[in-house]
Symmetry: C2
DNA sequence: TTAAGAGAAATTGTGTACAATTTAATTGTA
DNA sequence: TACAATTAAATTGTACACAATTTCTCTTAA
């Protein structure tokens, strides 16, 4: 059966594809809710870091979000232009750009509270399943990070 | 403890973030191997569909890959310019663009055989874990797809 | 038979995403 | 001290990714 050749190259036999597709679809599921806040998904996760930490620099943010300055620089300028954050060079070390929440950015957190629950109600996994998925994803992330070091 | 406010908005308490980060890092892990084939990740998964089906149209490909024509049109033109595929309007219905493998595209499959194993060796999950992860990802994809219909 | 509606792909505009390079600042060391 | 090496962001160039619109084709119903 020639159709059965190279089964390892079939989309359905790969982990990477459902991961790739699932991530895209989950981001897509956020869109209608984030639209109400005038945030994109990437802007939203950047704001989440700031809501938690209040302030950080570009390098730290990049490490947390797995994003580099090529992505972050324009994104942070956008968030600044919306009035949610401030960008200021560090006084001690001018290479470093410190990001901090404005009052308006802080306020936005309250308006964003409905988002996780709204999306959660679209993805009806059991607590057990969610926990397993969470654990496995962080395991893969860990494995890939080790790979870089070796 | 003011730091503990709004725990539902903490990055670490969300499923979406590890999913997003993990998908990006897995695509990143493919890069060194796909570079040898001069393919990007998206081009690679498009080729995987064609290696399996030999031919399809843009709409079908989009449904399988969760991608729309805005992404696929330039990507398929690129694969055509590399000589891996042919793009031809359907004779029966000129709206439809049929994609088919060229001999060169078919040949490329043999060279791509090492890719899944190479990436697999970076992501050392047990067979059990991989199966669970696979199942959960397809479950989420299914839940999100149902959401659209309702 | 033809105009309205539906479909498929292409196009446009915005926003990531990253590799590679550049710029500017700091650090380490001879 | 002085300069090479390092570091942090910004910039540049390429490639997605998708919403909204457009173009062209096909179907359908009056």
């Amino acid at each position: 059966m020639s159709d059965e050749n190279y089964p390892e190259l079939r989309l359905e036999n790969q982990l990477c594809f459902p991961l790739y597709a699932c991530a895209k679809e989950v981001v897509h599921a956020y869109k209608p809710f984030l639209d109400k806040l005038d945030l994109t998904y990437t802007q939203y996760i950047a704001m989440m870091v700031l809501w938690e930490k209040k302030a950080c620099n570009v390098k730290e943010l990049g490490e947390m979000l797995y994003l580099n300055s090529g992505t972050l620089t324009p994104l942070l300028k956008k968030l600044e232009s919306k009035g949610y954050i401030e960008r200021k060079r560090s006084i001690n070390d001018e290479r470093i750009l410190n990001i901090s929440l404005t009052d308006k950015g802080q306020e936005l957190q309250k308006e964003a509270l409905f988002v996780p629950m709204s999306v959660g109600s679209c993805i009806k996994l059991s607590a057990e399943e969610a926990k397993t998925l969470y654990m496995l994803l962080y395991k893969v992330l860990g494995l890939l990070k080790n790979e870089e070091i070796e």
